[in-house]
Structures are given as structure tokens and as C-alpha cells.
Amino acid sequence: MSFINYAAREINCKIVYYGPGLCGKTTNLQYVYAKTNPDLKGKMISLATETERTLFFDFLPLALGEIRGFKTRFHLYTVPGQVFYDASRKLILKGVDGAVFVADSQPAREEANIESLENLQTNLVEHGLELSDLPWVMQYNKRDMPDAMPVEEMRKLLNPTGVPDFAACATSGEGVFETLKGVAKGVLSNLRKMGI
């Protein structure tokens, strides 16, 4: 649920990075954080376990620029991918304006990708949303892995409706900003559609 502040002329939107455990959601945010001008970002907060697995969420506030005199701000969140943190994932989807599904390109994670995407759909329903209502994009991450599945194959499996998709390597940063721009565009277009 975006928040429009007419007094400060600001619009705030919430973007959630979703995907199976260890697919690289936190790494995406870390890269965005590392490469963003300090004036445009706030602190990155990571609620993580001692082994750096996300426990509740990561949070990164970003400012993108102005549109029609309104400052656009995006709050990026990641969910914890481990299966047993489902209750937390559900909570983080509250008020989501756009999502990035980060898929892991390793063949061994094929099932985990599918399960996590289905889990996203199930959890959105709890918030009264369908995945098809939500602006979202697909990221095929870990393209640098020698055994990475062909993008075509992943697309067929995970993106049959053809939402914008991006090949990425979050550790080197390839595709990370393209993905973020893709989802931000989707969110802004959706605001336009809603006549905000």
C-alpha cells in the first residue's frame, strides 16, 4: 500500500524480494546499498541469524528522484526464504506494492523455486491479492554458477505469463539494478492505472 504525503510531496512504495532460501535476496539489497549514493539511501537493516540467514527481514529505504514534483521513495524488503519462516513471510507482504521473485539458477534448487513461487501466491491470497494483480518481476539469479539452468527453461517453468524478467548475478551486481528498475516501473505504472 503506497503512502502519498501531499504535505511533503512524497510518495512511498514497498517492494518485497521473495524467493527460496539462499537464492540471493539479501545479496541483491546489499549490492543496491553498496552502489547507491549516500544522499539517496537510508541505513540498511538486516534482522538475521548468526549465520547470516534472514530471520525476519532486511530493509533498505531508497530515494529515486522526482516525478511531477513528487519525491519517489522505495522501501525495499526481503523475506526469510527458509521454509519454516512462513509466518514471517506472510507478515512482510502486508501492504506490498511490487515484488521481485529471485529464483536460484542451480538445477538443485528447481523445486525450491517452484515451491517458493507457489508460497508467494498462497501468502498473497491471505492479503486479498492475486499475483496477477501485483506488479512483479522475475530474476534468474546466480547466472555465474557453472551448472546454471538455461534461462529459457527457467522462464517456461517460473514465468509462463511473461512478466519482465532479468538474468542476474547478485554477488557481482549484474542485473541487480535492472531488476529494481523493472519492478519500480511496474509499481509506478500501477499507480497511474489506479488513478492516484
Partner: protein, 162 residues
């Protein structure tokens, strides 16, 4: 259905500021924040400016969400208020309505009892402002009032033109 955005105009902000500025005096608290359930900061009293209020807002909303989740698992509708006690500073968090959250940061100059009492009154006043604000937005949701209804693809692209 997609949840419609939460919009607030000058009048509502001014009303919220008056409420929390009064509340901070009445309670002797160090500071007060009002945030929405998604973790966006709506308003703060002056002394909160020294803290990272963006992060505070996001974490407090996470905290309220987690507490609400606990409540539902235990068959309660919600735990509408909670309290975190520190050695010198403490935090009292109160759900205002389905959209807003009131956060009071206080120390030994105040007390939980006083904060709780006044926060209840303050929350009711805030809930009223939110309701009025929503009414106003519904009245203004025609195309001539909308900021984004006719933005172009080019304008969206320009946001990313670096």
C-alpha cells in the same frame, strides 16, 4: 483487490502534529512517532529528529506485525499495545486503528501508567484524524486531483536515466 494507497494532506498532518506535540508534553515523554502499519513515518515530535526515524518506523511496524501474528496464533484478535522496557529508555507502542501506530519513547521522567493513559486518548484523537483524512481523499479521488493518473512512460523512464 489492490489496497488503495494511504494518502494524507496538509490538514491531516497539521492535526496529527498538534496531537503528538500535546501528548509529548502531557506525558513528559522524550519523543513520539506516528507511523503506518507498513512502516512509513507519518509524523514525529521535534526531539526524535536525532534518531534514525526511517529505520525506527520500519522496525516498529515489523514489531507490531509480529506481535499481531503471535496474538492470532493464540486465538486473540491482536495485542493492540506493547511495552519494551530498557534500562533508562522505554518504548510504548499502541495500535491506533487498522492504519496507524503510535510510538512513545520515554524515560524515568515519565511512567508507563501515565503514558498508557494519555496514549489511549491520543490514539482516539489520531484515529479520528485518519478517518477524516480518508473521507477527504475519497472526495478528492477524481482525475483532476490525482498526481499520477497521466504520467507518461517517458517520465517513469527518466527516473532511472542515470
Amino acid at each position: 483487490m489492490f489496497e488503495s494507497p494511504f494518502a494524507m494532506r496538509e490538514k491531516a498532518f497539521a492535526a496529527i502534529q498538534v496531537i503528538i506535540d500535546e501528548l509529548v508534553v502531557e506525558t513528559g515523554a522524550r519523543g513520539i512517532l506516528v507511523i503506518d502499519r507498513v512502516g512509513q513515518l507519518l509524523s514525529r515530535t521535534e526531539k526524535m529528529e536525532e534518531f534514525d526515524t526511517t529505520s525506527l518506523a520500519s522496525l516498529a511496524a515489523g514489531c507490531v506485525a509480529a506481535t499481531g501474528g503471535l496474538a492470532r496464533l493464540l486465538g486473540e484478535k491482536d495485542f493492540p499495545s506493547h511495552f519494551h522496557q530498557g534500562e533508562s529508555g522505554s518504548l510504548y507502542i499502541n495500535r491506533v486503528d487498522e492504519r496507524g501506530i503510535l510510538i512513545v519513547f520515554f524515560d524515568r521522567d515519565s511512567s508507563l501508567g501515565l503514558v498508557r493513559l494519555r496514549a489511549r486518548k491520543g490514539s482516539a484523537a489520531l484515529a479520528h484524524v485518519f478517518k477524516e483524512s480518508q473521507k477527504e481523499n475519497e472526495a478528492k479521488s477524481s482525475p483532476e486531483h490525482s498526481a499520477f493518473a497521466n504520467i507518461t512512460d517517458e517520465e517513469i523512464d527518466n527516473l532511472f536515466s542515470d
